[in-house]
Symmetry: none
Subunit: 190 residues, 4 copies
DNA sequence: AATGAATGAGAATTCATTCAT
DNA sequence: GATGAATGAATTCTCATTCAT
């Protein structure tokens, strides 16, 4: 029989890698970051530990890939690709998007908080994360400045802290948290 | 010397237990949760590993005690031992106290967030944590009700989320976070 | 084109096998015995791991073939295809050849010593190695006998030990070892 | 019951460590250097793998200790603690001692050669080894100089290479090697 | 003939926990 | 009460070998 073509192999690799990352995120979510061992991930993915190393150089590399991918799913919303001038409606749209994401990708947010709490893991991704977040902060500051804020930096810090706080509480208790009503309150603060 | 009474022995035990927990928190803070091994804790406390097990049934139990004690230091501020009627000044005082605590016990807050992020550890303490927090939430709700809020639960959830968000951001970057100015903004929300 | 004959296929196989062995020796030399993994060898040879197993039953078999081939490159010099009567000039020629080989094939010598030191690997090749070496020892003994030696076996053992000692030291420090001068001393001993 | 005294613990540790090193050398001897795994050593010593790490920081450290101890048993014979002036009888005595050691500590010599062949292991001990060997080389050179040698360095190199060659061959075939007779030949070369 | 994904046994190492003293 | 030697299961990671294609 003729061997698989390069494309076939590439497809297998891509699919497997996605599968592993999916499972790994699942395990991180269920067991917490430190307990997400290679063994458990491999077991849940139904593959051997060895194979995992066929796809990721090391656990650290795998974790970094998963985290960055996870964070990117969150942070790409912050990247408006615009001229930096925001209207009230646009900021409102951002907030809506964040809350939609919060709802649909709750695992990623858990990941986000977990990462923030773990200096070692944090160090792995900090730089790239900041690069993504920074433009958004600048735009927000400009928005508050243009709205006549007396201290745009404080306003920005506040709204971000608020967003994180809401995400945090929603994450802890998604079924009872009044996400919609809180969102409406938030609109009045921008 | 007369032999020590049972009470004396008990007192000595308690004191030593406190010392171990103090050291353990220190180690957890310095090395992270994962790397806070029994060996290191015992070594830093100047006792043998065996003796540690004389005081704590298991690492899990010890961690739980440490966490609960840490959280209690935070949450006891919420326990006014009052009739449940708060004035604006009293709520302001609470907020001030929380921020003072935030400033002086940043380790505990780091622990608090780290714990919240770890499902397994979280499970160990969730119940007791809620028991402590609940009365405060009730009081806050009553406060907002009496202030004429249209939705006191949402107000309470919001203020708590906000507080957590601020603590989180302060903890991530204590040197640059404009704690004082944020606090003043907060006053206007109560 | 007419289909290749069986001989042609056989020739192609042999050639490829040679190439793999050449690469494998290179890897063993560069990375040490321990780290000469099948993966690295296959990669450096530009073939797949699977194909390697098409040519060699197992790593052990491959290693044996490589070693024996390596040793044969060394020991074939000892095989004069003669009647067993040596002159002084011929022995001198042998010594010269050994030193030339030592110089030009230092990798093989390193392999030779490394193999000697590894009981498991040694066991794989001992028998065949002895078969190659033995005729040379007989011839040398005859030479010393004919030179009037009182104990030809001891003379032979001595000269062989000496040769190995020199090779060993040369290998450890090829740049400083006074190979030429040592060789001249050796001439006086035969 | 009262706990063991510090001396008792020290004694236990000392004894265990010696036992482990003894077994480890044994395993290195029997299985070759690369196959001397922590598992095998622990198993042969009848202890758990974990305990081994109670005594040695890492495999590398353990190997270094074993090697240095082994080499020191060999090389201490080379340290005459003298003024550096040797007589023929003294050099003869050295040679005798080396051969005695060769006979009684054949394992250590195997270790010595094995170490020499493994660049990675060699690197671990090279420095300390050279420090021990160097004075002996200087003394030997002085001896040959004083005996009127035209090239003392070559003489020294030669005698050392010879010694190694003999040890090597003896080690490979201790039962048939004519050690006594070879030794007598060696006397004529000094 | 040829590929490389996949396996599984085994490597070094860590650590909560036990236990004889 | 107190010690630390000892255990064993778990960790990350490696690699010779197999196998479907």
């Amino acid at each position: 029989m003729s061997p698989r073509t390069e494309q076939q192999f590439e497809a297998i690799r891509e699919e497997r890698k996605e599968q592993i990352k999916r499972v790994a995120l699942e395990v991180v979510f269920e067991e917490g970051f430190q307990n997400a061992s290679i063994s458990k991930i491999a077991q849940k993915a139904g593959i051997s530990k060895g194979l995992l190393y066929n796809y990721f150089e090391s656990k650290e590399v795998m974790i970094r890939e998963i985290i960055l991918e996870g964070l990117s799913e969150i942070t790409q919303i912050f990247d408006p690709n615009k001229d930096g001038i925001l209207t009230y409606e646009e900021v409102r749209f951002f907030i809506d998007e964040i809350f939609n994401l919060l709802h649909s990708k709750i695992k990623y947010w858990q990941l986000y908080f977990a990462v923030m709490m773990q200096p070692r893991v944090m160090a792995l991704v900090m730089e790239q994360f900041m690069e993504t977040l920074n433009p958004f902060m600048v735009i927000l500051q400009n928005y508050f400045k243009q709205r006549g804020s007396s201290d745009p930096e404080v306003d920005t810090r506040m709204i971000l802290a608020f967003l994180d706080g809401i995400c945090f509480h929603y994450m802890l208790d998604p079924h009872h948290f009044p996400l919609q009503k809180i969102k409406e309150r938030l609109y009045t603060m921008i």
